[in-house]
């Protein structure tokens, strides 16, 4: 059974307070109040707490955060805490809300994370397009230095540097992000053989966590693991900043506990499909998650496990709503153009596969495609899946397969 929509606010509590990004307002509204409690605990105690809370990475992957922390502390060396604020998945625009409306919550989370990991250096890797948000965030960091929450005179020394990307979707992939942070092209690295490896920044053990994940830490420190587990599902505790865009009446970002019904969420919070039209499909968690057709949506709950059951993913929770008039050929063309543009070019199946797919889809758009084109598109998708360094090509492959699984008839109509 689906969870109730309760609008529980864990990270978005202060979003609507005027000037919430300024430190005096932030302090009046509880920011930095969890630090003393965090420092009173042993770092390992904090890691255990995060493990018990069941907190999962909110950037799309949903990996267990506590384990990731442990992998870093298990290694010797200088520890780095890197915040992934690259947020480039189409349909995703949630982390920017935290950085714009409650940057001190993120800073507070970073300080505690650094303390738990024994790190004194943190980088926030923010996408280059967020120039205006970078200024707000930097302003908040400057204030935190002035008030000695950061820097040499802080109770626990942490230095935060905001590092601006420069327009590359792939840098949201954590190993590509670290390559970029080292001053390289953003080419993803080969995955380690062991699943207990941390990431590495200049060969030092490093944590990469999403903005919202880190911003959840102060709540867990204050309310304990059980306090966080009150919300969400057994396997996906807590809340997520869900985003809705596309053909919907109330596009925006809304925090909600995991496990609520997708259709109910879109109708009550999202206000239903725009212009009174009928729903055709929803891309559930950013462009890279396979599409769900309308007739299945009433059975979908917004948590990782349920979406797997529909051959899809929860991803970032950024839902793109498509109405009854949307052409699926055009939708797939739009998405494959995106993947073709953003492929880093390192692996042949991805570089060539995304480019081929876009060209084939152009023929469907012009209604000059043949049955052979459809076969080729399917075979390109198979070739892209599981044969590359990172998950970019498999994601593109999943997008093709998802649309063809439910809407192949529209492609057949475009065959000459």
């Amino acid at each position: 059974m689906a969870n109730k929509i309760i609008r529980q606010k864990i990270v978005s509590k202060n979003f609507e307070i005027p000037n919430s990004h300024k430190i005096d307002v932030a302090l009046q509204n509880g920011r930095y109040s969890t630090l003393d409690k965090a420092f009173s605990k042993d770092p390992q105690e904090l890691i255990e707490m995060v493990k018990q809370s069941g907190l999962r990475g909110k950037g799309g992957g949903g990996a267990a955060t506590g384990n990731k922390w442990q992998f870093v502390t298990n290694k010797d060396g200088t520890k780095y805490v890197v915040v992934n604020a690259d947020e480039s998945e189409p349909g995703t625009f949630k982390d920017r809300q935290i950085m714009e409306f409650d940057p001190h919550l993120l800073i507070e989370g970073i300080i505690t994370t650094c303390y738990a990991l024994g790190s004194h250096v943190s980088y926030i890797y923010i996408r280059g397009e967020y120039e205006e948000i970078t200024e707000v965030l930097q302003g908040a960091i400057d204030e935190a230095y002035e008030r000695n929450y950061l820097g040499d005179n802080a109770k626990y020394k942490v230095d935060i540097t905001v590092h601006r990307g420069a327009g590359a979707y792939i840098c949201g992939e954590k190993s590509a992000l670290l390559e970029s942070l080292e001053g390289n092209r953003g080419n993803p690295r080969l995955k380690p053989h062991s699943k207990t490896e941390p990431e590495w920044y200049f060969d030092q053990p490093t944590l990469v966590n999403n903005v919202e994940t880190i911003a959840t830490i102060p709540f867990i420190v204050e309310n304990g693991a059980e306090g966080y587990r009150k919300f969400g599902t057994e396997k996906a505790p807590g809340t997520l900043l869900f985003a809705i865009s596309g053909q919907i009446n109330n596009p925006g970002v809304y925090e909600e506990q995991f496990g609520v019904n997708m259709l109910e969420f879109l109708e009550t919070i999202g206000g239903g499909v725009k212009n009174g039209k009928k729903l055709k499909a929803v891309i559930p968690g950013g462009a890279s998650t396979p599409i769900i057709p309308a007739h299945q949506i009433k059975d979908v709950t917004l948590d990782y496990e349920c979406l797997w059951g529909f051959n899809s993913e929860l991803g970032t929770g950024g839902m793109i709503v498509l109405d009854e008039d949307v052409c699926m050929v055009k939708t797939l063309k739009n998405l494959m153009r995106f993947y073709n543009h953003e492929s880093c070019g390192q692996c042949t199946p991805c570089r060539e596969g995304t480019s081929w797919s876009e060209k084939i889809l152009d023929r469907f758009m012009n209604k000059t495609a043949t049955l052979k084109d459809l076969e080729t598109l399917k075979s390109v998708s198979t070739i892209m899946n599981g044969k590359t360094v990172c998950v970019f090509a498999p994601a593109a492959s999943g997008v093709i397969d998802g649309i063809l699984r439910h809407f192949e008839s529209e492609f057949l109509e475009c065959i000459k």
Partner: protein
């Protein structure tokens, strides 16, 4: 023509060296400073950055060409970037692009870009980096003629 960073940027570079474990990590931030100073990243700037971070010219060049936001050519017009990814397309970005092309391409350089993370404000564009959301033809006229 050679390139040198102005005094303000030199100070920023000095500050950056304290922030990273290796000089190489400063390449992206310094490329941003160069672009801010000149409006684009010139070949001479790449040579200068290569000296500062003690890395080969070709490495800096390969980094500068990987990231779409570094502009390697100077634009004599202000730049408008129109998002074309799905949520914007579903809300009419193609018409917005056509309207801009027809009416404003003599005064502005109009380019298409992929998702800028402002999907609730679709369709959207940026003008010299600033986000303008919920675009309509009327809003475009207001913003561009109001300048």
């Amino acid at each position: 023509m050679s390139f040198i960073f102005n005094e303000q940027n030199n100070k920023k570079i000095e500050e950056l060296t304290k922030r990273y474990p290796k000089k190489k990590a400063m390449i992206l931030p310094i490329l941003w400073l160069a672009q801010k100073q000149e409006g684009y990243v010139s070949n001479e700037a790449i040579k200068e950055i290569s000296k500062i971070v003690e890395m080969p010219y070709m490495h800096i060049y390969s980094v500068a060409t990987f990231y779409t936001m570094y502009r390697l050519e100077k634009s004599d017009k202000p730049i408008i970037e129109v998002c074309r990814t799905l949520s914007c397309e579903l809300n009419g970005s193609e018409e917005i692009k056509k309207y801009l092309d027809n009416k404003y391409s003599d005064k502005y350089k109009i380019i298409e870009v992929e998702c800028m993370g402002a999907c609730s404000g679709a369709p959207m564009c940026t003008l010299e980096g600033k986000y303008i959301e919920n675009l309509t033809t009327t809003k475009i006229d207001e913003v561009l003629n109001g300048k």
